[in-house]
């Protein structure tokens, strides 16, 4: 008997580990027509863990003090063994997290997985999207570079367009009239404690809902693609005759994570500067406004929307309305059909919306 088997036996007789693994992994059946897009959630979990691990490693040398932050990041990049790799993984990883999250969201949209009874899965996922945007925005300030300082100045200033309370909100966010040391303190606390803990909690809730309700059936390769759910009582969506999570789909998850890793490492090692303009490596200077401060790629559409409208408040209201519509989509789109090709109006709206978002982003980049 190997040491490993003895260890498993020891645990098994105490907590019934084998029975738990059988019930939750081997006998956990997924739809027979499940596809690659269902592994996006696992990739996102992997990225989140990577962000936490690299973030903790960065915390060892990072100093959240306006006088020392830039120097500490420079030290990490140049003097700490593999510090450059850890920082690049963290920065590139944050962009990848947004990208994969959007892909996850698009796949849920097109496969109609947000429909009843999964409204709460969609809403928790949407909250995660805003939290990931929030953690990215707060993390942007921490290196205390020209890019950090001015992007945060611009972003926080936008809140001033909210009638009546706008100016108070700006000062609350910044901890003063201008972006300065108190802003760094606030954003640091949000970035390393408040938002990650909230993300972990909401991810837990998202997974709990998945576990309680069951995995949705993809609408592809089926004769009947209408949503079978009826609001007459709770019912777990099981998949008799489906494929086991372990080892089948777990291997698919690992394959997808490996493909993601190849893309991620490709960017980290060959062109991480895709996400770092020149101003990202100059120390913050409150008296020198860089010529072209642009937000991260995923905020470019928001940025351009504000520029289109003559009044900033209208720009904010339009964005708020669009985000609210997206958050409440499962309550608005109540049709039973899940197959994207049998939902032409939805498809036109969804693809039009995505193209508009991309178009506004490109416009924002070149404006």
């Amino acid at each position: 008997m190997t040491l490993f088997k003895r260890l498993i036996d020891w645990i098994d007789v105490r907590i019934g580990a084998r029975q738990l693994a059988k019930e939750e992994l081997v006998d956990y059946l997924l739809p027979a027509n499940i596809n690659f897009w269902y592994s996006m959630g696992s990739i996102l979990l992997f990225i989140f863990v990577m962000q936490v691990v690299t973030g903790i490693l960065l915390l060892i040398y990072y100093v959240p003090d306006a006088d020392k932050a830039f120097r500490s990041v420079t030290f990490i990049m140049n003097d700490v063994p593999f510090g450059w790799l850890i920082r690049m993984c963290h920065a590139v990883g944050s962009n990848m997290m947004v990208l994969v999250l959007l892909l996850h969201m698009f796949s849920v949209l097109f496969m109609g997985s947000y429909k009843s009874p999964r409204e709460l899965n969609w809403v928790t996922g949407f909250i995660l999207l805003t939290l990931v945007q929030g953690i990215s925005l707060t993390g942007y300030l921490l290196p205390w570079s020209q890019l950090s300082f001015w992007a945060t100045t611009v972003a926080t200033n936008s809140v001033s367009a909210i009638p009546a309370v706008g100016q108070y909100l700006v000062e609350f966010l910044r901890g003063g009239k201008l972006v300065g040391p108190p802003t760094l303190g606030r954003f640091f606390a949000l970035h390393v404690a408040v938002i990650p803990l909230t993300i972990a909690a909401v991810v837990g809730l998202h997974l709990f809902l998945l576990e309680r309700i069951g995995v949705s059936t993809p609408p592809f390769g089926l004769k009947e693609t209408k949503n079978p759910w009826r609001p007459d009582g709770f019912r777990y969506e099981d998949h008799p005759g489906g494929i086991p999570f372990f080892p089948n789909y777990a291997l698919q998850d690992l394959t997808s994570i490996s493909i993601y890793l190849a893309c991620f490492l490709g960017v980290v090692f060959f062109d991480p500067y895709l996400f770092f303009p020149k101003d990202a490596f100059l120390p913050a200077n409150a008296f020198q406004t860089p010529a072209h401060i642009k937000p991260e790629w995923y905020f470019l559409a928001n940025y351009q929307t504000l520029k289109i409208f003559p009044n900033e408040f209208i720009g904010l209201a339009v964005q708020g309305a669009a985000m609210t519509f997206l958050a409440l989509l499962p309550f608005i789109d109540r049709g039973p059909e899940k197959h994207p090709l049998k939902r032409p109006v939805f498809m036109i709206c969804a693809i039009g919306g995505i193209l508009l978002w991309i178009g506004l982003g490109i416009w924002g980049h070149y404006s």
Partner: protein
């Protein structure tokens, strides 16, 4: 709900600029001679390095009412003979080089001042390009200047190439502070020759300066090697991830 998500999404506006100093606020709106310096200054090496009006002209850049008060140190524009001292408050070594040169010795007697070659508000980065036929022949023949410029060309090209490499590394997050300081010192030493008209001295000193520049080039070569190694490691890591994906995919197929 709208308000909830309204504050959760990030917004961007164009109206977020730190206030400019009062000199620029007023003069940038003025026509003609009074507004021209601001436009010229914006394209200068001084503007690039954050050296604003008050750094040279004195005064109080934060108080519009007293910005040009002598009591707040306002100096205004210097007279022609006072220009070397005006610029020399910061460029001490260059001022001494200039005063010792044929140009400096002719100060007040029709000779050029600092701004004759370097410009006043559109101050350009000191480079060999400032020695050119169009500029020099305003006062004298270009022949001697041409010989001196030729003697300096190789060193100048080395400096420009090293500067570009340092800038590229800086834009990648490399700590180039030490290299920048070294290049700054060597470049300054080289620029002391710019006011000299002794061709032999220029050639001899240029050779010594090139030895210093080669040391900086060696450091940059070390950085090149380090970045090359990172790329090789990256290629191995990417290949490893792709291989793992392939093996896992094949393994999954065995369970179908």
């Amino acid at each position: 709900m709208l308000a909830l998500f309204g504050v959760m999404i990030p917004f961007f506006s164009m109206a977020a600029q730190q206030p400019e100093i009062v000199c620029i606020q007023c003069h940038s709106t003025m026509p003609g001679k009074l507004g021209e310096p601001v436009k010229l200054w914006r394209g200068s090496i001084h503007a690039e390095n954050g050296i604003a009006c008050n750094a040279c002209h004195g005064g109080d850049p934060a108080d519009a009412a007293n910005a040009m008060s002598p009591a707040r140190g306002f100096l205004g524009a210097p007279k022609e003979t006072a220009i070397p001292d005006f610029c020399g408050r910061c460029h001490v070594g260059v001022k001494n080089d200039y005063l010792a040169s044929a140009h400096g010795r002719a100060l007040g007697r029709g000779g050029p001042t600092c701004v004759t070659c370097h410009g006043n508000h559109l101050v350009l980065k000191a480079s060999l390009n400032l020695i050119n036929e169009q500029s020099c022949s305003r006062c004298h023949s270009f022949e001697r200047a041409r010989v001196i410029k030729a003697a300096m060309k190789e060193t100048e090209d080395m400096i420009v190439a090293i500067d570009a490499r340092i800038t590229a590394y800086k834009a990648h997050g490399t700590d180039t502070g030490k290299l920048e300081k070294e290049l700054f010192a060597v470049r300054n030493r080289f620029h002391t020759l710019f006011h000299n008209v002794d061709v032999e001295l220029v050639r001899r000193d240029s050779a010594q300066i090139q030895d210093e520049l080669k040391k900086i080039q060696n450091t940059l070569q070390g950085l090149d090697d380090s970045y090359r190694k990172r790329k090789i490691a990256g290629a191995v890591a990417v290949a490893g991830a792709l291989l793992a994906a392939l093996l896992l995919h094949v393994l999954r197929k065995t369970y179908d």
